[in-house]
């Protein structure tokens, strides 16, 4: 008898728990967007982005206060996965705004025709070199510079000067010091590869492939992803590895300072401004969005100073709006590369696969 009662009670308790949990889980879901008139107060705009998207809750609250539109965020893994999802759901898009397409994927994104053209307010505050789409299907929101970071302590101890150019990396004194990410599996890795393509060119006497052959001959370490490169192989800052040179971002040293355990006066790592590759991130209104007007207003807001100035400390990239004031940490602890390298998006699109294959053949 006791068995039965216990059993029944258990079943009842679990059923309630199931119902509750499903209810709660479902409530957190993005339901179909409300049928309120677009742009009107009380409507929702869905923002589809990757996992690295971050912005202060207050900023989003300001947007809602201003426009009456609530922002719902959908996260889709990394940028490549996100773009794929957008392309796959082209006919019935999941969201209104897509944010996170970068210049390495731009050509593909535009070619797949997932965006609706929209010219936002505030575009005049964005430098021309960032506006890669004259058709306004996408709007630049921020950019990051993929560049080499070096461990200051190591270089100070050994008296070696940090490399001043990419070519320096092939010199004997820099042997066994560099760790890079696999461009086939990592976004900064790809950025660095593109930097070398831009720097050394293809074909010619000493092209980018020769450079890489020299790097490999100089005991280059290649790992799959940024976390492994930075935290496990890099020796500077919070890294626990043994290589003092790593491919990372220009914003990494400020992050080291901000997220240091004990307050620091100086960043433990520095950046090599030569050989930096600029990665620009865009946002666009999705074709077929349920709330295109709200989408437009969100993009306008994303270019506004309120949003742009909140970007650096959240996403650790630089705002596209030239009038945005950078936080002091960004100014103090890093150097923004003055002349970053770039490759046109359509060139990237055409050659990416082949370049990665050629790189793999050398690096393996």
């Amino acid at each position: 008898m006791m068995d039965k009662l216990r059993g029944t009670g258990f079943v009842i308790a679990m059923s309630i728990a199931l119902a509750l949990s499903v209810f709660v889980a479902g409530c957190g879901g993005a339901t179909t967007t409300t049928t309120a008139p677009e742009g009107a107060a009380g409507s929702t705009v869905v923002l589809m982005t990757h996992d690295s998207f971050a912005i202060s809750d207050e900023v989003l609250a300001d947007f809602t206060a201003e426009t009456g539109i609530t922002v719902q965020v959908l996260r889709s893994g990394d940028a490549g996965a996100m773009l794929n999802q957008a392309i796959l759901t082209k006919d019935n898009p999941l969201a209104d705004v897509l944010y996170g397409v970068d210049n390495t994927f731009l050509s593909r994104a535009l070619g797949s025709d997932v965006f609706e053209a929209y010219e936002p307010r505030g575009l005049d505050q964005v430098p021309d070199e960032l506006q890669l789409d004259p058709g306004h299907r996408v709007t630049p929101i921020d950019f990051g510079d993929i560049c080499l970071n070096y461990d200051k302590a190591f270089f100070a101890e050994t008296g070696l000067a940090p490399p001043a150019s990419l070519r320096d990396l092939t010199k004997p004194e820099y042997r066994s010091l560099l760790v890079v990410e696999n461009p086939a599996t990592s976004s900064p890795g790809l950025g660095f590869l593109l930097a070398t393509v831009a720097e050394f060119g293809t074909g010619g006497e000493y092209d980018w492939l020769d450079f890489w052959r020299d790097l490999v001959a100089n005991d280059l370490l290649v790992v799959s992803g940024w976390e492994e490169a930075y935290y496990s192989s890099f020796s500077g800052g919070s890294g626990a590895g043994d290589r003092p040179l790593v491919v990372s971002y220009a914003s990494s040293p400020p992050a080291e300072v901000i997220y240091a355990e004990t307050p620091l006066t100086e960043a433990p790592t520095g950046v090599v401004t030569a050989g930096a590759f600029r990665q620009i991130e865009f946002a666009g209104v999705l074709r077929g969005a349920k709330n295109p007007e709200g989408a437009g207003r969100l993009i306008d807001f994303m270019l506004s100073l309120r949003f742009q100035e909140d970007i650096p400390l959240n996403m650790f990239v630089f705002p596209a709006n030239r009038d945005a004031v950078l936080p002091p940490e960004f100014l103090q602890y890093t150097d923004v590369p003055a002349a970053p390298l770039s490759v046109p998006p359509d060139v990237i699109e055409q050659n990416r696969d082949r370049w990665i294959e050629e790189w793999t053949a050398i690096a393996l």
Partner: protein, 553 residues
């Protein structure tokens, strides 16, 4: 004459039984059809019909030598990993099943912990241990050994719990009878124990094989440049090259390999199914008596601590190693609020993880028990194919399923961006575990017990509820533990679906690890430690529910 027939009434009971039968078969089938087969077919169709003829992609896949090498590597590393894991874990399974010693349930819960941890976190621990500065002194990073070791680490629990679960119920008198007839211990093991364990061994091996066949994070982090599996390649083709046709062709290849294995496996199970009187678990366990036994228990415990505990200890150590000596700084940092929408307050992450895990477990146990009933009692082809189809999600590329959801689940209800997909995706992976643990026990329930219940006035439904269900439910509790762990560890397709902002603990860990800074790294380690503790606690709790009395089943 020795009937294991389910009681049939001629007349009144039949309708109820038919309806019950239809529900038992229908619910799992519908679940699988809608949430697996349909999305899978959808994405494969869309991908392959994308540019030109589908066959072009297959031709590419089959002729490119690098891709053939990838397929071959995937196959043999999975096979070797499986054999290694089983060999290594078998003694452990024996020790935990048959011997009683202090701390036993803690150890049993503890072995499940590795299962749950995100590979990116464990990867860093392994890299530290396997580097030239590590305890082994030799650099094993980015070698096959690192991959194999990591696979054993992650999958140890599968063998322990699946094989150990059945081992605990084996009647020791059978082994005693064999010894009385003059068989040495080794022969007893080979001729009596092993054949009786065969169903569980096959089940565990098939699961480990599927997991290692579709291994992703371990290969990426510990394999480095030189080692790629089909899963990694599919991911790369999809998310880096945006080459869906080739990715789809590879996914099909993967599926073929997996299905072949599963068909072989289910044929094996059918032939091997032996009805045996199982003993209650409490009866077969005893404290180690001889020095030989003590040595065996001790050696295995030491081994478990080394293999499973060391990487975990590295993580715990890192979570406590603050700039000013050991302390709780990182843990405290976790619970202070941050205004950025990126950082997840630990409380929120924990709550979300628990809710999803609970939902996933309940879905998996419900659907799984229904499916297990069908598989256990239905002889012949139908049951076998059902079994195979249920296992398929384990062996299908997570990327493919995730994208499949997007392609297929837009109508009639738009579930594509719903949080409900998360427990469902987890349940897809967890259901095979529930089935695996329940079926052997269900098959061993003697038909006589059901007849006895019927004679005492129990209708077929009540027979199921009073006899089959309690006996199978105890075994299903093992599967429930797994389901919970799988959901906590965010297995499967959830990384590739568009999720509303309900971050879970693994997601929080990823975000913390996504940028530099000691505080970030430390907090990631702290959160990982909390995740470990949570898993162990949850598994222990589930064990308690299962073993109210020691000598009960």
């Amino acid at each position: 004459m020795d009937g294991d027939r389910v009681v049939t009434g001629r007349g009144g009971g039949r309708l109820a039984r038919r309806v019950g039968s239809a529900v038992l078969v229908g619910v799992p089938l519908l679940f699988l059809a809608y949430f697996f087969v349909y999305p899978l077919a959808g994405i494969l169709w869309v991908s392959l019909s994308r540019e030109g003829s589908p066959s072009a992609a297959f031709v590419t896949v089959l002729t490119r030598p690098s891709l053939r090498a990838v397929a071959w590597f995937t196959l043999w590393q999975a096979a070797v990993s499986t054999v290694l894991t089983v060999l290594v874990a078998l003694p452990g399974a024996y020790v935990l099943a048959r011997f009683r010693f202090p701390g036993r349930s803690l150890v049993r819960a503890g072995v499940t912990v590795p299962f749950v941890l995100p590979t990116v976190v464990v990867g860093s621990a392994f890299l530290a241990l396997l580097g030239p500065d590590g305890p082994l002194g030799v650099d094993l990073r980015h070698t096959v050994w690192a991959i194999l070791l990591a696979h054993v680490f992650f999958n140890y629990a599968v063998v322990i719990r699946t094989v150990g679960g059945l081992w605990a119920h084996l009647d020791p008198r059978l082994e005693e009878a064999a010894r009385m007839l003059g068989a040495s211990r080794l022969r007893v093991f080979r001729e009596v124990t092993l054949p009786l364990l065969a169903p569980a061994l096959a089940a565990a091996s098939s699961i480990v094989f599927l997991f290692t066949f579709t291994s992703f994070g371990v290969i990426l982090i510990l394999g480095g440049l030189h080692y790629t599996t089909l899963e990694v390649e599919i991911w790369r083709q999809t998310t880096q090259f945006l080459n869906l046709p080739v990715a789809a062709a590879l996914a099909v290849l993967q599926l073929i390999g997996v299905t072949t294995l599963l068909v072989l496996y289910s044929r094996f199970q059918e032939r091997r199914a032996v009805q045996q009187g199982l003993r209650p678990a409490g009866e077969t366990a005893r404290p180690p008596r001889t020095w030989g036994e003590r040595l065996l228990v001790g050696a295995n415990l030491v081994f478990m601590v080394l293999l499973l505990g060391t990487p975990l200890l590295v993580l715990v150590e890192r979570s406590l190693a603050t700039a000013g000596g050991y302390g709780l700084t990182y843990y405290q940092a976790l619970f202070t609020s941050q205004t950025s929408s990126l950082f997840v307050p630990a409380a929120v992450g924990l709550r979300n993880s628990l809710v999803f895990a609970l939902a996933a477990t309940l879905i998996a146990v419900t659907v799984g028990l229904m499916a297990a009933t069908v598989i256990a009692y239905r002889r012949g082809r139908a049951g076998r194919w059902f079994d195979v189809v249920l296992m398929l999600p384990l062996g299908t590329s997570a990327v493919t399923i995730g994208f499949g959801f997007l392609v297929a689940l837009g109508k009639p209800i738009d579930l594509r961006a719903s949080a409900l997909l998360i427990p469902i995706a987890h349940a897809l992976v967890a259901i095979p575990f529930v089935v695996r643990s329940a079926v052997p026990v269900m098959r061993s329930v003697r038909g006589r017990l059901r007849d006895a219940a019927a004679m005492l006035g129990a209708s077929p439904f009540r027979v199921w509820r009073e006899v089959d269900l309690p006996l199978a439910a105890r075994a299903a509790a093992v599967g429930a533990g797994f389901a919970f762990a799988i959901s906590l560890g965010e297995f499967g397709a959830t990384a590739f679906i568009a999720r509303p902002d309900t971050p879970t603990v693994p997601v929080a860990i990823f975000r913390l690890l996504g940028r530099p800074g000691n505080l970030n790294f430390g907090q990631a380690m702290a959160l990982s430690t909390i995740l470990m503790a949570l898993t162990a606690a949850a598994v222990l709790l589930i064990e308690r529910f299962r073993l109210a009395r020691d000598s009960e089943f």
